[in-house]
Symmetry: C2
Subunit: 207 residues, 2 copies
Amino acid sequence: MKIQVVVRIFCSISVFLCVQYSVDGRLISEKKPDPKNAAAIARWLVSQNSWGVLNTISSDLGGAPFGNVVSFSDGLPNKGRGIPYFYLTTLDPTARNAMKDQRASLTISEYPIGTCGKIDPENPTCAKITLTGKLKLVVGNSKEEEFARNALFSKHSEMKDWPEGHKFQFFKLEIEDFFLIDWFGGPKPLTLDEYLHFKVEELAILL
Amino acid sequence: MKIQVVVRIFCSISVFLCVQYSVDGRLISEKKPDPKNAAAIARWLVSQNSWGVLNTISSDLGGAPFGNVVSFSDGLPNKGRGIPYFYLTTLDPTARNAMKDQRASLTISEYPIGTCGKIDPENPTCAKITLTGKLKLVVGNSKEEEFARNALFSKHSEMKDWPEGHKFQFFKLEIEDFFLIDWFGGPKPLTLDEYLHFKVEELAILL
């Protein structure tokens, strides 16, 4: 705990010498994995980011790809599983689109984590990942729903107070494919098996 | 210039009391427009952000919506036109997708600008916008290409040194539709005419 307090004060003083916090003061691992380790970089991006752009096919807009800023979580700190969970309402087009066509992707960047320094957000050494797959409702009253609730409400504490009348539901992205750029030389190969079986505990240094 | 230096030093000391810089030290307007003014918020989001997620239909992934982190610019500071320009290569799936199917959207958030404070990135008062339309090549050796080059290279100075062999080209999003959330109560109505004719000079306070 003492280390965390010191780091918090240090981060409050200078953003240039320290990584930033995610939502709700959850401490972020300072160490970016080696870009040669695709699974580590991918799981780090997913665990450290609090938001991304969730893409669906818009039935209202002639089948156009429709990106929407959403908050997500893959689990409690140091216990994430790599699968992004969301808390969505069909009052919003993203959930409505997914009910008609589950094809979806989630795109996240290293840039908001604060570790890209002064390079351009599109510089290939500033990592980015797109997870493509199917956006599905999590089965109600299941163990997975409990996992999703804990994952989301611990990272995004506002969510538990979002209006009941909006009928928010838990969704997940069932990942099928990766597009990962974390260095020069084009997309880094990564299989679903390598991604899911990476030990996320290896990322933690301050939790 | 003196005011800018003072603001830079002040921002270097504390990120919590000041807005952040965009790429290349371009100073960001501190003032967020009134959320009641949809055109002002939309143009502010587009002019202040340096990157977003550009979404296309992936022919490689069974027509899935594919988001990609990209840098963009709508013009020189205080002279933006609201139309996002990009510098893309067909080595990358986004440009390849657009060559086959121009349907696209660009999604950007207020969160990276640094003015959302401690609220969740998905809180409706943390503004977000999705511009839907067609992703098109800018005509070569045209006045518009010159505008796009100045817009992009002034905001993203790295771009002019990107490898010639990658054959980067200028693209633009021809906007057809808006999805803007900047307060409670659902998407804010905004027409293309209102958006394009908003006087962006009204946003500037420190440029």
